[in-house]
Amino acid sequence: MADPHQLFDDTSSAQSRGYGAQRAPGGLGYPTASASPQSAFLGDPVSNMAMAYGSSLAAQGKELVDKNIDRFIPVTKLKYYFAVDTMYVGKKLGLLFFPYLHQDWEVQYQQDTPVAPRFDVNAPDLYIPAMAFITYVLVAGLALGTQDRFSPDLLGLQASSALAWLTLEVLAILLSLYLVTVNTDLTTIDLVAFLGYKYVGMIGGVLMGLLFGKVVYYLVLGWCCVSIFVFMIRTLRLKILAEAAAEGIPVRGARNQLRMYLTMAVAAAQPLLMYWLTFHLVR
């Protein structure tokens, strides 16, 4: 009859019971100085081993996921787009609402790689578009709620609809970039970032419209539309037309004209979509 309830006894203060030798190889480092019922559970060798095994399994699984995640989602590339700080976000939002005084729109490079958004206000980021998209869905729910038209599946419908329009825009622009054979370093994620900036103006317009009425909605939306138009033209001009300008050879008029038309078309689509996605929210 040598202690039938050893599993439930407090063994923390019992150095003479021989559990010390078995506890050391467990090596989990849990503090066993406290005389509490939990340490009896932790001090038991079986659960020690079980915990060690479990934690080693978890570490292995984490390694596996880390190794393979890069194959499906380019995590390291995405991290660049989320390297933002508060000052950058503030300056970028100011730029989105008032781009008229900003002089230098070039992205600074650091040995062939663009500088992180934290250090350069012209660099595209995915933080603002992602946050703005989610806020847009929430504000749409709020707007529908004030008109007694809300139901939870409408939220999902709004999100899905906005996402579908975004996808369609990205595909259309990629197709036209291919057709016009523009050699640009505008990646798809860059494009998603630029196209996501219009949600900021949309949120502003809808919120002002909810607070102050339809006229204010139209005014604020008009202002945001013009700002986004100018912002897109000034940003895309450097990306799409830079090739021709930077090469230095005399530019053939037709080609450059086509690229200019493309830039104007992309920029003009932004106000249209901004209106289309918000007019049914403010009545």
Binding site: L157, S160, L163, A164, W165, T167, Y178, L179, V180, T181
Partner: protein, 82 residues
């Protein structure tokens, strides 16, 4: 506007089907968009028309087999779930 991602997928499937059914001899050659009429030398500017012809030709070549599979799946799903 009930424009969901699912309807976007449906539209994309229909568009790719439309490109795949263009008949080479009866149609494309008659409007001068045949596959052997476009590869005219290595000029500097490919131009929109030759880019489009390239795109159509590559879509038809690449998507022939996957389209069979995706269409079969779509038919079965629509039969089962309406």
């Amino acid at each position: 506007m009930a424009f969901t991602l699912y309807s976007l997928l449906q539209a994309a499937l229909l568009c790719v089907n439309a490109i795949a059914v263009l008949h080479e001899e009866r149609f494309l050659k008659n409007i001068g968009w045949g596959t052997d009429q476009g590869i005219g030398g290595f000029e500097e500017e490919p131009g929109i028309k030759s880019q489009l012809m390239n795109l159509i030709r590559s879509v038809r070549t690449v998507m022939r087999v996957p389209l069979i599979i995706v269409n079969s799946i779509a038919i079965i799903l629509l039969l089962l779930f309406g």
